[in-house]
């Protein structure tokens, strides 16, 4: 049993809310009590050592579109970004909606991915919003949560039954809050910018309507529910009330909605086309505050690989989504450098809260937890070149941006995957 000791580390402990210099001992792949004699000592040179990121809602394009992202490439990108657990989306082609397709994903991930992969499954068959999937079998096969991703279940009877059934199985449901009628066809957020560019807009009210509806369904069913992304100020009071009323509800936000706003689309830059679209600056600041206060629990990458062809189109025809595994941490550190968050609060949202929500032992520096760790220099700045990304798809809105914060090593179960990856073969 190998014992490692990280010395001279700035330990970011989201559970205790502390940021202190110290040492951390890892033995047999788990975090250990101090004291055991180490086989290897790692000098962290004062850099930050934090629990590895648990990223809920990552799109790995297997099966169906492996040219956009494979488990191998997503794993390399995750290691480069300090992400130790990928919680993958089922919006693949075909959708992950049977135990058989789920097993395919688990097998591919086990062979190729350098980090932990926990797949989610669809809540309804084909993500069509009509019939629920085999939630019980899928849980037995390892589904960590259930979601139809950005396809909103419009039939409230279908959704209420799926939530009721999911609750009886102890399953977590993840929803996308958006009134689909009001948001139909929208490419950007409605308002002055949308009008100036002649683009069809989505009213930010569509998100508030979506959250109101889903909260009513939770009151009916009592299901465990996580909102993938809250991106507008006007949806926050509803979330706050639902939490105060004791509903089993949590919420996340994607990194781009925390760091960019609608004006960044500028002259039809399709790498900034997201779903939901980027919002006004007031909304961005409101969701940043909600992360700081803990109202929004989780920050995720919403990693969505798209090839050049699907982005090099007129804005309204271009695909939505951006890659973010490698930029999640450096972009999130902007919030720290700007004074919005401190590091323990950031890692509460990146690591601890998502792990807790999924019932995972990782995401903390407590003895007994898996040694999934990220070592990073929070101050090292670099200019992002999208072609240097490990992701197969290069659709990042941060191309050419100056980012501050660089991952030096990512440990999964006590193993330095950064070193392994740099030594290993670079196949697809």
């Amino acid at each position: 049993m190998t014992t490692l000791r990280f010395e001279n580390a700035r330990l970011i402990n989201p559970e205790a809310g502390t940021d202190t210099l110290g040492t951390l001992t890892v033995s047999g792949g788990v975090i250990a009590e101090e004291g055991a004699a180490p086989d290897e000592v790692i000098d962290c040179k004062g850099h930050c050592l934090a629990p590895g990121i648990v990223d809920i809602g990552v799109k790995v394009s297997e099966p169906g579109e492996r040219h956009k992202e494979s488990f191998a490439s997503a794993g390399r990108a995750a290691v480069a970004g300090g992400i130790t657990t990928l919680v993958t989306r089922p919006d693949t082609t075909p959708a992950i909606d049977t135990p058989e397709t789920l097993e395919f994903v688990e097998r591919r991930a086990a062979i190729d991915a350098a980090v932990n992969v926990l797949p989610m499954a669809a809540l309804t068959k084909g993500r069509q919003g009509r019939e629920m999937t085999e939630i019980g079998f899928l849980m037995d096969a390892g589904a960590i949560a259930f979601t139809d991703c950005d396809s909103v279940i419009t039939d409230t009877k279908v959704l209420s039954r799926a939530l009721t059934y999911a609750k009886s199985c102890g399953a977590l449901v993840i929803g996308h809050v958006q009134e689909p009628g009001l948001s139909a066809g929208g490419a950007v957020t409605s308002g002055k910018f949308a009008t100036l560019r002649g683009l069809s807009g989505v009213s930010p009210m569509a998100e508030r309507m979506g959250i109101d509806r889903d909260i009513a369904l939770l009151e009916m069913t009592g299901a465990a529910y996580h909102i993938d992304q809250i991106t507008t100020a006007r949806a926050l009071p509803a979330l706050e009330r639902a939490k105060a009323n004791g509903l089993d509800i949590t919420a996340g936000v994607g990194i781009h909605h925390l760091t960019l706003n609608e004006m960044d689309v500028a002259d039809y830059r399709t790498f900034f086309k997201l779903k939901p679209p980027l919002r006004a600056e007031e909304d961005r600041l409101a969701v940043v505050d909600a992360v700081a206060s803990g109202l929004i629990d989780i920050i995720c990458s919403m990693h969505t690989p798209q090839d050049e062809e699907s982005k090099r189109l007129p804005f309204e025809e271009a695909a939505s989504g951006a890659v973010a595994l490698e930029t999640l941490l450096p972009a999130a550190l902007r919030l720290v450098h700007n004074g919005h968050l401190d590091l323990p609060t950031l890692f509460r949202a990146l690591s601890l809260n998502p792990a807790n929500r999924l019932g995972l032992p990782c995401g903390r520096l407590t003895p007994g937890a898996p040694a999934d760790l990220v070592l990073f220099d929070p101050d090292a700045s670099f200019k992002l070149d999208r072609f240097a990304l490990k992701s197969k798809s290069k659709n990042t809105p941060f191309d050419g941006a100056i980012l501050q914060g660089r991952v030096t090593a990512t440990y999964v179960g006590g193993e330095n995957m950064t070193v392994q990856m740099n030594d290993g073969p670079h196949d697809a």
Partner: protein, 324 residues
């Protein structure tokens, strides 16, 4: 020279002096067109391609006549019938055309921003002939020239733009141009046909047609697309005409010498009463069409000068930073 742009993609990025330069030149071309003086040397040896990804008769004809009067070799490509149907992307189409080395590319496309995208990929001057709901700069320029000739000035006028502003690229370009030239712009229409955030554009918004037209100098009507008429945005054609159609009674609220404009094609009895459209004392709709040719001649002339200057500089090995 005070017109520096290498493309004409929209009004948004034009400076007021560039607008004035272009209108002054267009005014000369309008006079020369009336007396039948051609200028076939201006675009001689240049190739103009009209690429219309969306149906158009009048705009395409106007660009074609403008190019021919200036001596360009003009070619029309009906893109709806062509490679788009075979699945070619816009960028591939642009690169294919670019390889044929055109000098002026006139583009209309149903998607907002598509002409900007295309302009990034080609080495010639691009003129936006309308992209989605974004901009239609030559229409706004021809409207401006028509107003200037009728009113003797293009500043401190009160101008009402009426009807389906939400779906209109003509309205967006006009709002920007008339605002840049320091006019008071009013938007008049049912709230379902006015775009979001429009109050931030420095315009006044009216939902009552009579209030909106009170004491204006110019009444600019917009076309209401057939597909918007039934229930989606307004209850019916007849209710729309009753509340927002321009007739003599509503026009009486405007100044006595107010002019009536329409970008065409008109829906008589929907947004405008036929007798108003034909009233030679009020309607300048035919003049708008005439000014359209003159404005497009001026725009292509100015862009061709910049194109030639940039190419000349490149041939002489002078770095200008201007597109070649």
């Amino acid at each position: 020279m005070s017109f520096r742009a290498s493309h004409l993609l929209g009004i948004e990025h034009l400076h007021p002096t560039e607008i004035t330069t272009l209108l002054d030149l267009a005014d000369q071309y309008a006079e020369h067109n009336r007396i039948g003086r051609a200028h076939r040397d201006v675009l001689e040896g240049l190739t103009q391609i009209n690429m219309f990804f969306e149906n158009s008769t009048r705009t395409q004809a106007s660009f074609e006549i403008a190019g021919k009067r200036l001596g360009a070799d003009v070619m029309n490509m009906a893109m709806q019938a062509s490679s788009i149907k075979k699945g070619e992307t816009l960028i591939d189409t642009a690169l294919t055309l670019n390889a044929m080395r055109p000098d002026l590319l006139v583009v209309r496309h149903p998607n907002s921003g598509a002409v900007n995208l295309l302009a990034e990929k080609v080495n010639c001057a691009v003129l936006n002939a309308g992209d989605g709901r974004h901009e239609h700069p030559t229409q706004a320029l021809l409207d401006a020239l028509t107003i200037r000739r009728a009113k003797g000035r293009l500043h401190r006028l009160s101008i009402a733009i009426c009807g389906d502003v939400a779906h209109s690229r003509v309205a967006r370009s006009n709002i920007m141009l008339l605002g840049k030239m320091e006019n008071r712009v009013r938007l008049v229409g049912p709230p379902t046909l006015l775009p979001s955030g429009v109050e931030e554009f420095g315009v006044e918004v009216f939902h009552d047609m009579r209030e909106g037209l009170r004491d204006v100098d110019v009444v600019m009507m917009l076309r209401l697309q057939k597909e918007r008429m039934d229930g989606g945005f307004i209850p019916s054609e007849r209710e729309y005409f009753h509340r927002y159609g321009l007739d003599a009674e509503k026009l009486s609220y405007a100044k006595d010498d107010a002019i009536v404009m329409h970008p065409g094609p008109m829906n008589r009895g929907v947004e405008i009463d036929g007798t108003i459209a034909d009233d030679i004392n009020r309607s300048v709709i035919q003049e708008q069409v005439e000014m359209g040719v003159a404005v497009r001649m001026a725009a292509m002339d100015l862009l061709a000068r910049n194109l030639r200057a940039a190419r000349g500089a490149k041939a002489a090995g002078i770095g200008t930073g201007v597109m070649v």
